[in-house]
Amino acid sequence: MKSVRIGAGQGFWGDSPFPALDVVQAGRVRYLACDALAELTLAILQKARQKDPARGYVEDRFFSLLLGPCRSRGVKILTNAGGMNPAGAGRMVYDLSRGMGFKGLRIAVITGDDVLPRIGELKEMGIDFSDMETGGNISAIEDRILFANAYLGAGPMVKALEMGADVVIAGRTADPALFLAPMIYELGWRWDHWDRLAAGILLGHLMECSAQSTGGNFGADWWNIPDMERIGYPVAEVYENGEAVLTKPEGTGGRVDLETVKEQMLYEVHDPTAYVTPDVVADFTSPSLQLDGPDRVRITGMKGKPRPQTLKVSIGYTDGWLGEAMLRYSWPQAMQKARKADEILRKQFSALGLRFDEILSEYIGYNSLSGPLAWGEGDDLNEVGLRIAVRTKNKLDAAMMPRLVPPLALNGPPTAGGGGGGGMPRPRELIGLWSALIPREQVEKQVKVEILEVD
C-alpha cells in the first residue's frame, strides 16, 4: 500500500526553526508543512504592506535555514507564509534560492484568497457578510476593514505539486490543508473520498500547532515530558486507505501518546462531529486512537462528510487602541499597595478628563491569568504587579495613560520596584476579527497558481 511521511515545520510566525531541521534531517519525510498565520497575523502583514507594497509576507530566517537541507534531501515545503503578499514571498524565496545556486528549483505562488477589493461587488450580488459569531451586519465595521481573506482548501496546493513545485507558497489557507495537499497528491485520493480527506484533515490539525501534539503545552504530567529543550515536531506516516501513524523524529524530545494527541485533537475545535474545512467536514468523534509502540499513535476509522458550498472569510478591522502599564510592589502588603496604586490612577484619569471605553486592572502574581476565579484575597504575597490596561478610540489617550504610572514610585505607596515600573509600552492598535461565509465559486474563480523556476 502506498504511503507518505509528512512533517510539521512551524506552528506560528516566530516558532523555532530548529525542530523543523530535525524533521527534515531525522524525520524521513518527503514534505514539510509550515503554518505561519494565526488569525490575527494578517493584520500585522497588511500594515507592513501598506507601508511598503513589496512586503506583507512572513519575513524570517526560516527559509534561509531550511531551503538547503530540504533541497539536498528532496523534501518539499508547503507554507502559508505568503500572508498578504504571496508573490512577494515567492520572489524572496526565488532570490534566496538563486543565491544558493539551486538551479531548477520550482517555487509555486498561490494567490486569490484576498477578497477585500471585491466586497462591494459581492454585496451587490446579495452576499451579506454577516458575522458568524454575532450575526452582526458588516456595515458596522465596513469603513475600518484592514484585510478580508478567504480560507482556501488543498486544491491549489495539489495543483502546484502537479506542476512540479518544490516550494509551495500560499496566503490564507485552511491550516490543516497544508498537510492534506501532499497526501492527496501522493496517495491519489479523490476529491470525494470524504473519509480519507477527513483523515488527512485530522492529521493536519494534529500537526499545525507544531509540538502541541508531541508534549508541548501539555496539561497532564508535563513535568515528565522528556527533553523539552529539543522537543520533536510531529511527523505523520499516512497510508493510501486513510489510516495513519502520528510520530516524531528519532532522537528528539517530547512524547507522542494517547494523552498528548487527545489534547491537541480538541484544540480550537467547536462541534467535534463537524470540523468544517474547505475540502471536507471531518467528524472527530469517529476515529479510534491506539498506541503503536513508543511515540507512535495509530489513527483509524476516520469519517468525513461532503465539503461545504461556502468558504469562510476572515476579516480584520481596526477597533481602537490599547494603552497599558505595570508597576510592581514588594511585601509587606504588596496587594494592598497595588490596589492603592490602581485607585490613585483611576482618580487621576477622572481629574485629567481621560475617558476610556474600558479599564482593566490585573494583579500579576494574584489574578492576571485567572481573573475572578483567583483564590483568596492575595494576602501576604511576596510581590504583586499592577497591570492596568485601557481601551480607547484615541491613540493619544492610550499613549498618555502610561505616563501617569512612573511618578507613583515616588508619589504613591512604598516599594515600587523594578525601576519604578515596567517601562512605558507604546499603545497598540486593537484589531477586531469578523468571520463570514461566501459561495466558494466566488473565490475559486480568482485563484491562480504560478511557478517561478530558478535559473
Binding site: 503545552n217 496539561g219 485533537m265 475545535v269 467547536h270 468523534t285 491569568l369 481573573g371 475572578p372 486593537l430
Partner: protein
C-alpha cells in the same frame, strides 16, 4: 459527601477562535468519564466562569476520546487581538476549569 478539585480527576487544554474559547477536558481514568459528564455540565461551567464568559456555554461529548469539549462564547473580551487581558488567547481557561470543585458520593 466528599469532594475533590476537578484537577485531581482530569487534565484540560483550551484555545481561542474569535471571541470564543473551547476547553477539552480529559479524565485521567477512563472510568471517570461518566462522572465528569454527570458533574461538569454546561450550566455549571457557565456559572464557574461568571465574570469572564459573557455568552452561552455548550458541551459536546466525545466518547471515542472519553472527553468533553466545552465551547464558551463571548469569553475573550472581544477576541485575542481586541482583548485587554493578559491571557488574551485564552490559554489558561483549561487550567481555570480545573479549579472546579466536584462532589463525589
Amino acid at each position: 459527601m466528599a469532594g475533590v478539585l476537578l484537577r485531581e480527576l482530569a487534565h484540560a487544554r483550551s484555545g481561542d477562535k474569535g471571541n470564543t474559547v473551547n476547553i477539552g477536558l480529559f479524565p485521567y481514568r477512563d472510568e471517570d468519564y461518566e462522572l465528569l459528564k454527570e458533574k461538569v455540565t454546561a450550566d455549571r461551567v457557565k456559572k464557574h466562569f461568571a465574570g469572564l464568559v459573557e455568552g452561552e456555554v455548550v458541551r459536546y461529548e466525545v466518547p471515542n476520546l472519553r472527553a468533553c469539549n466545552f465551547v464558551l462564547k463571548g469569553a475573550l473580551n472581544g477576541g485575542a487581538s481586541r482583548s485587554l487581558r493578559s491571557d488574551n488567547l485564552g490559554k489558561c481557561f483549561g487550567a481555570n476549569l480545573l479549579r472546579m470543585y466536584v462532589e463525589i458520593d
